[in-house]
């Protein structure tokens, strides 16, 4: 057997990862420096990306170094930013002031459950910042210091922030259980924003941000490349259905601009979901367009700072205006929908040049998007199905036994729970829910959200993915589930690893892949393959029978 490295899942033995002690150590947490072991942190941002974005302190460095090469006055910089953020966000202020350390959130975080590191209890993650707040911004804290939970801002604190705020996927599960709604994700966003002032960030986030700024998408796909990709998908679609599609790109005057995370262009199984969208639009004859300029729905700016998020998101409305579309439909993505639902209109609106979304097929007006003018693809499709506008043959999906993973953001920053379920139940005959404490608003993160889904972070991904993976294994054992459906591009990338590790044999799929496989298109040939170009079980038998006769 080959030697495995910490960035490969084979490096980690299940039995070892499962030895989790949720009891904290004896010594207090205040003075324990972070342990930067390989597999548990992410490579820092390459200087060129910070330069291209005009962000401070670009340099070559590593978290494993003793000296992080910070500017001389780093304490002053942090203090200034801290103060600025306290003045800008009521949430931050209240979350600093009101925690009673009741511990209700403690065992709700997937990183704590899967790892047992006490600083991954949401309450302590927040205390990492709150202790500095007490010491530097409250009168009592300034007088009593340590005795009332204050800590001095030292280099070890900065290192600890970098370590633990890149071990929070901003999933908001803790916030569901907190009696005051304290949302550690919000605190993580503040902490990351402060760290960026010192040039401390991770490449897995900042490279996509820089790409997105230049090329319009995280992956850096240039316009001609996107066209090739979509055409390539259409070839596969033609192989499966016999139907030829010409993807509309940057088409002025289309009714709908469609925006999806670029992950759907690049990697399986997201690509199959992307084909699913195209087949659906073709089938209903939607007048839509792709954009190469706004070719990213996802927004790694959300994991960086409010300004960077706004910068990247601005292209969507700008492009909708340029192309003169009526409204926008967004694809399946989690954090993308956090931005679209909770930030976009405020940051980059008002979208008064667009119309309130109205389905051209059913006439349904999407009143819930009256202002933002952007609807979720599952809202659109659920409405189509409800009105009987799609011809569906769920038997085409009979070989799959599906469960559904609620992605954190659609669940806890939106409440998109029933739309995908309704669709799945319409296109599949075998649907089984995971245990109730692991779905809907209590869903567990994939372990790789908020920019943590990279291989060098493998140990934390597997640990963080353990609660989700274990729930998947549960339905795999109980109901023979073999597919995990989700509405998130990050999920489609990270849950593949989580399932391979914790529930091997379960594949990850997007909801619109399931739709497309069950959809009977006008003029299609008899389907013998699914979108993955795998032969359908019935078709195999038939071929075999044909052979015998």
């Amino acid at each position: 057997m080959a030697e495995h490295k910490p960035d490969q899942m084979e490096f980690y033995k299940q039995e070892e990862l499962q030895q989790i002690d949720l009891n904290p150590p004896k010594e207090g947490w205040q003075d324990q420096p972070a342990d930067f072991r390989p597999g548990s942190w992410i490579y820092p941002t390459k200087p060129k990306h910070l330069e291209s974005l005009g962000m401070p302190n670009p340099r070559e460095w590593s978290p494993a170094d003793e000296d992080w090469q910070l500017p001389e006055n780093w304490q002053e910089i942090i203090h200034k930013k801290f103060k600025e953020l306290l003045g800008k966000y009521r949430s931050f202020r209240i979350f600093m002031d009101t925690c009673v350390r009741c511990g209700a959130c403690a065992d709700k975080c997937h990183f704590f459950i899967g790892g047992g590191d006490p600083k991954n209890m949401p309450v302590l993650r927040a205390e990492l910042v709150r202790s500095i707040y007490r010491n530097d911004f409250t009168t009592v804290g300034k007088i009593l210091g340590r005795a009332c939970g204050g800590r001095k801002l030292t280099m070890d604190v900065i290192k600890e922030w970098f370590y633990y705020f890149y071990q929070c996927t901003e999933c908001r599960r803790c916030s569901v259980f907190c009696p005051y709604g304290i949302d550690t994700a919000e605190i993580t966003m503040m902490a990351r924003e402060m760290l960026h002032e010192l040039g401390l960030g991770v490449n897995w986030i900042m490279e996509p941000v820089a790409n997105c700024h230049r090329t319009g998408n995280h992956l850096g796909i240039q316009p001609h490349g996107l066209k090739d990709t979509l055409e390539f998908f259409c070839e596969d679609i033609e192989d499966v259905t016999g139907i030829h599609i010409d993807p509309p790109i940057n088409k002025k005057g289309a009714e709908v601009l469609f925006v999806t995370p670029s992950g759907d262009f690049l990697a399986d199984p997201g690509t199959f979901t992307c084909m699913g969208y195209m087949m659906l639009f073709e089938e209903i004859g939607l007048d839509y367009t792709w954009s190469t300029y706004a070719s990213e729905g996802g927004n790694f700016g959300l994991f960086t700072s409010a300004d960077v998020m706004k910068k990247l998101n601005a292209k969507i409305y700008a492009e909708a205006k340029r192309l003169g579309v009526k409204y926008i439909i967004g694809g399946e993505c989690g954090h993308m929908w956090r931005v679209l639902n909770q930030y976009m209109d405020t940051m980059n609106g008002p979208a008064d040049f667009l119309d309130v979304p109205k389905s051209p097929i059913t006439g349904t007006v999407f009143e819930n998007s009256r202002s933002t003018k952007m609807i979720h693809i599952t809202e659109f499709t659920a409405d189509l199905i409800k009105h009987g506008k799609l011809k569906l043959d769920p038997k085409m999906n009979d070989h799959v036994r599906v469960t559904f993973h609620d992605s954190c953001n659609p669940a806890r920053a939106m409440g998109l729970l029933e739309e995908p379920r309704y669709i799945i139940n319409s296109v599949c005959n075998n649907f089984h829910e995971m245990p109730e404490n692991t779905i809907r608003e209590q869903t567990f993160c994939c372990g790789g959200g908020a920019g943590l889904g990279t291989d060098e972070n493998m140990e934390m991904r597997l640990r963080g993915g353990m609660p989700r993976g274990t729930a998947v294994r549960h339905v795999q054992e109980k109901y023979d589930v073999n597919q995990l459906a989700c509405v998130c591009a990050i999920d489609r990338a990270t849950l593949v690893t989580v399932c391979d590790y914790w529930a091997p044999g379960v594949q990850v799929t997007g909801v619109h892949e399931l739709v497309a496989n069950a959809m009977v298109m006008k003029g299609q040939k008899e389907r013998t393959m699914n979108l993955r170009l795998e032969p359908l079980p019935g078709a195999e038998e038939k071929e075999a029978n044909d052979g015998e006769s």
Binding site: L124, V176, A318, Y343, T346, R370, E419
Partner: protein, 329 residues
């Protein structure tokens, strides 16, 4: 260690008050200066803190949604867990404030051999927290009998319900013991559970010890070392009418009274501010009308982004070669 620190602080406070009650000259301090200082610190701090929160903008609409959103007509939405109307938000807040709705969701995680993860409902914290807060509220209202003349009907009514069982003379108040029991549980929980002990600060033990001391001295005064109610009422009314009387009510009363002053004085500077914070928490008190109504961010400064023109300038040749429409040929 942190618990001992907090306990030590409370003991010092108790000794201070006990000593003060015995020294004639200090009665002015404990009967007059301390209560007024406490009231000033309480009101001043409370107003200052709440104002400082209120002045800070809420740039984004960020409710934590805990149920189905309002979308298509035929999908029922979660009216309170994911409210989309003001009424829904009021309902959600009422459930939080009156019934600790979120805490009620609490579960406990266990990891079994073989890596099975078990989530079991854990309602003890919720029950004890609710018992403590409601007893505290009832006791607070009962105390109004010292500050009002004539005593309002609802105070008397609550008092008579509270002493319903008429055990002992004077009959015991149920809430006094419920309060102490609940506080005892909350304290024990912090001391016994390794996770809780790990996250607890002196700031967390201090209010617990303080409230236990207040409750205990209160019970002692009622049932063991009887204190003259008339004297106390005179003290209380004196403070309210800005003509304080210094005739003390004995050591036990001075201690009880002093600790209550401390409670008021530290309130706005401690975690007890969660009382106000819960009402203003943006993840709970905002309706999920995110896409229906535009939320305004007062500091929404412009941020430069890469315009389409810049993008096309960068990629025009490639776009043309690929047959993608461009603005400028």
């Amino acid at each position: 260690m942190t618990a001992i620190l907090a306990l030590g602080a409370i003991l010092i406070l108790i000794l201070l008050a006990g000593f003060g009650s015995q020294v004639a000259g200090l009665q002015v301090v404990f009967g007059v200066a301390v209560p007024y200082a406490a009231i000033a610190l309480f009101l001043g701090g409370l107003v200052f803190k709440v104002m400082s929160w209120a002045r800070t903008p809420v740039p984004f609409r960020i409710p934590t949604t805990c149920g189905q959103q309002k979308t298509l007509d035929w999908i029922p939405s979660a009216r309170f867990d994911n409210p989309h109307t003001t009424l829904g938000v009021i309902g959600r807040m009422a459930l939080e404030v009156l019934f600790f709705r979120s805490l009620f969701r609490n579960t406990k995680v266990d990891i079994r051999p073989g890596g099975r993860i078990i989530h079991t409902p854990a309602k003890w914290l919720w029950a004890a927290a609710l018992a403590f807060h409601y007893s505290f509220l009832v006791i607070f209202i009962r105390h109004l009998r010292f500050f009002t003349e004539p005593v309002p009907g609802f105070v008397k009514a609550i008092q008579s319900v509270d002493s319903f069982f008429e055990i002992g003379v004077p009959s015991i108040f149920l809430t006094s013991f419920l309060l102490l029991g609940a506080l005892g549980f909350l304290l024990l929980r912090r001391l016994v559970s390794p996770q809780l002990r790990y996250i607890s600060l002196a700031n967390d033990y201090f209010p617990l010890f303080l409230l236990i001391a207040i409750g205990t001295t209160g019970v002692l005064m009622r049932h063991f070392q009887k204190t003259d109610i008339e004297t106390i009422k005179a003290v209380a009314m004196g403070i309210l009418s800005f003509s304080p009387v210094t005739a003390g009510g004995g050591a036990l009363f001075t201690i009880h009274f002093f600790l209550v002053c401390v409670l008021f004085a530290v309130f706005p500077y401690s975690k007890l501010m969660h009382m106000a914070g819960v009402f203003m928490s943006p993840t709970r008190n905002m309706a999920n009308t995110n896409r229906a109504k535009r939320h305004i961010n007062p500091w929404n400064h412009p941020v430069a982004f890469r315009t389409y023109e810049e993008y096309e300038d960068d990629f025009r040749d490639k776009m043309k070669a690929a047959g993608i429409p461009v603005e400028k040929e």
